[in-house]
Symmetry: C2
Subunit: 349 residues, 2 copies
C-alpha cells in the first residue's frame, strides 16, 4: 500500500461542480492528512478555489480539461463525447493507470457507471457491478446494495452482491462475519420473486467462513438495522432508498410545522433546541453520502449530485476508508480466487 | 344501492381476532350509522364482546363457524382447509351472494387474496387484482398500488392498475381527473425497467377523459404527494411501503431519544407536548390502515393483522366509502365496457 491515499476527483461533477468539490476535498484532507488529490477539470475554475485552501493546494495537483459530462447526458452520449477527455473519464483513468487509488465524482451516475465499467472492467468472476450505500439505522449503520445499477438482477448477481457487500461491511464496520439479508416481501420462504428465493437457496447452501446469511428481510428491517448488509436488485433498492429519503423529509417537515404551530410549541422548541440539533444531525443524509461502485477493478465513489461541502467530504471519506482498508483485496478473497486463465497450447507463460 | 351499507367481517382474522374486530366495528358504526354488519366466526367468542356494544349488536348478526384461517398458513393450505367453512371464506361468500356489499378482514393477506380471487373472480378485462393503500403525504394523501399482489407485473397490468387506482382516487378524494404517476428509478424516459417504460408509453398514447397520466415518479415523490396515484409492480411497492414504515419508526425513535436526552429537552417537551401530540397523530399509520383489493367483482378490504381497534375501524371506514361511492361501477366505467362475448355460429342471441 502506498504511504499516501491518492484520490482522483472529478472537479466538474455535480450540481455545483468545483465550488463544492474543492472545499469538500479540503475538509476531507483535514480529517485524513495522509491523503493526496488529483483534481480534473477546468483549471481556470479550480485554481482560484484552491488558493483559498492552502493545505489542499499543497496536497493536490490539477489536470486541466475543458470537457465535462453533463448531469442529464445519457450514459451512451457521455461515453461518446466524454471518453478520453472529460474530467470524469480522466479521473477514472487515473485509477486505471494506478496514479490514484480511488476516484470520487458527484457527476451523472449513469455516465460514471458506464465509463467506470468500460474502462476499469469488472472484477474476475463478477458479472455486474452494483452501487452500495451506507444507511443509518436504529443500531448504527448498514450497507444496502444495489441502488440502481443492476436492474433485473438474477440469483447469481444477488449472491455476488452479498459477497461484495459483506466485504464492504468488513472494511467499514470492522466486522469478521457481517450478517447478510436478502430484501424480500415476506419472511416466509414461499414468498417473493423467484430469483430472490433462488439466491436465498444458494446463500444457504454455500456456507462461507466470512459471511453470515440470515435469510430474508423486509423493507422495515433496513431502518431497524436487522442485518449489516441488505442485498436487493437495483430497481427495488433504488425505490427503497428514495422512498426512505422522502419519508425522512416528510417527517422533518411535519416536525417543523408542529413546532411552529403554537406559542407553547415555540417555547418548547427553544428549551429543547439542543435535542433538535442532535436529531437533525442524526437524520442528516449528508453523513452517509457516497455510493460505492462494487465489483470493478478500482474504487469508484459516487457522491450525490446535489450535495454540499460536508456531503462531498463524506463521500471522499468513504473512498479513503475503502483504500486504506483494502476493499478490493477483501472482495477478491471472499469471492474466491479468480478463475485460472485458459491454457493456450504453445503459449509461453 | 341498498339503503344500508352492509359489511361482512372476518371476526377471527388478525393477531387479536374478535377482541379488535368487534370494538373496531362498533367505532366505525358510530361514524357511519347507516352500516350493517355480519360477523363470521366463533359465536362463543363474538357474542360476549357484542354485549358490550349495544348499538353494534342491534346492527349486526353473527354467523357461527369453528374454522379460522391461521395467520401463517400458505394461501394454498388456506384454500384447502378453509374453503366453504372458514370465517374468512364465509365473509367473502356474503359478498359473492350479495348479502354484503364489502368484506373486511385483518387475516392472512395471501389467503384472503387467494380466496377472494378464487371466489369473486377478477373484473371483466382485469387479469390480476392489486392491493392499494392510502399513503399520507405532505399534500394530504395519495393512493399507492400494488403493495404485493402483482409480483412481476407487466405493462398491461400496470395500465390496469392506473385505471383502478384512478377510480379509487375519484371515490376517496372526490377528484374528476386524478393525476397518475408510474414509479420508476429516474424521471428520464430512458431509465427503468422495460415494462415500466412500456406502460408509460401505453398510458401516454391512450388518453382517457378520466385519467391524467403525468409520467414517471421516484420513491421520494410518494411522500411529497407529487401525484394522486402511484402505480408500481407488487414487489417494489411492498418494499417501498415497508421501507417507509421503517423510516417513520426510526424517526419517531430518534425523536423520543432526543426528547429524553437532557433536562432542557424534557422541559421543552412539556411545553410543546400539544405539538408532539399533533405530530403523533399525523404520523399515525392506523389512520390509513386498510389495503383495498382492486380488480375483483366485490369490495375486499385487508386490515393490517397487528392493528388495534382504531386501525380496524379505519379499515371498515374505507370499505364503507368504497361501497357508498360505488368503486366497482367507477372502475368498470373507466376501464371501458367488458369485451363482447365471442359470436358463436348459430347461437341464439
Amino acid at each position: 500500500m502506498p504511504t499516501k491515499v491518492r484520490i482522483a476527483l472529478d472537479a466538474m461533477g455535480g450540481d455545483h461542480g468545483a465550488s463544492v468539490v474543492v472545499p469538500g476535498a479540503a475538509l476531507a484532507l483535514e480529517r485524513h492528512p495522509d491523503s493526496e488529490f488529483i483534481l480534473y477539470g477546468d483549471s481556470a475554475v479550480i485554481e482560484p478555489l484552491l488558493k483559498q485552501h492552502a493545505a489542499l493546494a499543497a496536497a493536490s495537483r490539477v489536470v486541466h480539461t475543458d470537457v465535462a459530462v453533463k448531469m442529464d447526458e445519457k450514459p451512451s452520449q457521455a461515453l461518446r463525447h466524454g471518453r478520453w477527455k472529460s474530467s470524469m473519464w480522466l479521473a477514472i483513468d487515473a485509477v486505471k493507470k494506478h496514479e490514484a487509488d480511488a476516484v470520487v465524482s458527484a457527476g451523472n451516475t449513469g455516465a460514471l457507471m458506464a465509463m467506470a465499467k468500460f474502462h476499469l472492467k469488472t472484477m474476475p468472476g463478477i458479472e455486474r457491478p452494483a452501487i452500495a450505500a451506507l444507511w443509518p439505522t436504529l443500531r448504527g449503520e448498514s450497507i444496502v446494495l444495489d441502488l440502481g445499477a443492476t436492474i433485473g438482477a438474477d440469483a447469481r448477481h444477488l449472491v455476488d452482491m452479498a459477497v461484495m457487500g459483506g466485504a464492504m461491511a468488513q472494511v467499514l464496520f470492522n466486522l469478521d462475519r457481517p450478517t447478510i439479508g436478502l430484501l424480500n416481501i415476506g419472511v416466509e420462504e414461499v414468498k417473493g420473486l423467484d430469483q430472490v428465493r433462488e439466491a436465498g437457496r444458494l446463500l444457504r447452501e454455500t456456507p462461507r467462513d466470512t459471511l453470515h446469511y440470515v435469510g430474508f428481510v423486509e423493507g422495515d428491517d433496513i431502518g431497524k438495522g436487522t442485518v449489516d448488509v441488505v442485498v436487493t436488485e437495483g430497481f427495488a433498492g433504488n425505490i427503497a432508498l428514495k422512498t426512505a429519503e422522502g419519508t425522512a423529509k416528510q417527517f422533518a417537515e411535519y416536525l417543523r410545522g408542529a413546532m411552529r404551530g403554537s406559542l407553547m410549541a415555540k417555547i418548547g422548541y427553544l428549551f429543547a433546541r439542543g435535542a433538535f440539533k442532535a436529531l437533525k444531525e442524526k437524520m442528516d443524509v449528508r453523513r452517509s453520502n457516497g455510493g460505492v461502485f462494487l465489483g470493478l477493478n478500482g474504487i469508484v465513489i459516487k457522491s450525490h449530485g446535489g450535495t454540499d461541502v460536508e456531503g462531498f467530504a463524506a463521500a471522499v471519506d468513504i473512498g479513503y476508508d475503502m483504500v486504506k482498508y483494502q476493499l478490493i483485496d477483501k472482495i477478491n478473497r471472499m469471492h474466491g480466487p479468480p478463475p485460472a486463465p485458459p491454457r493456450v497450447a504453445g503459449a509461453a507463460s
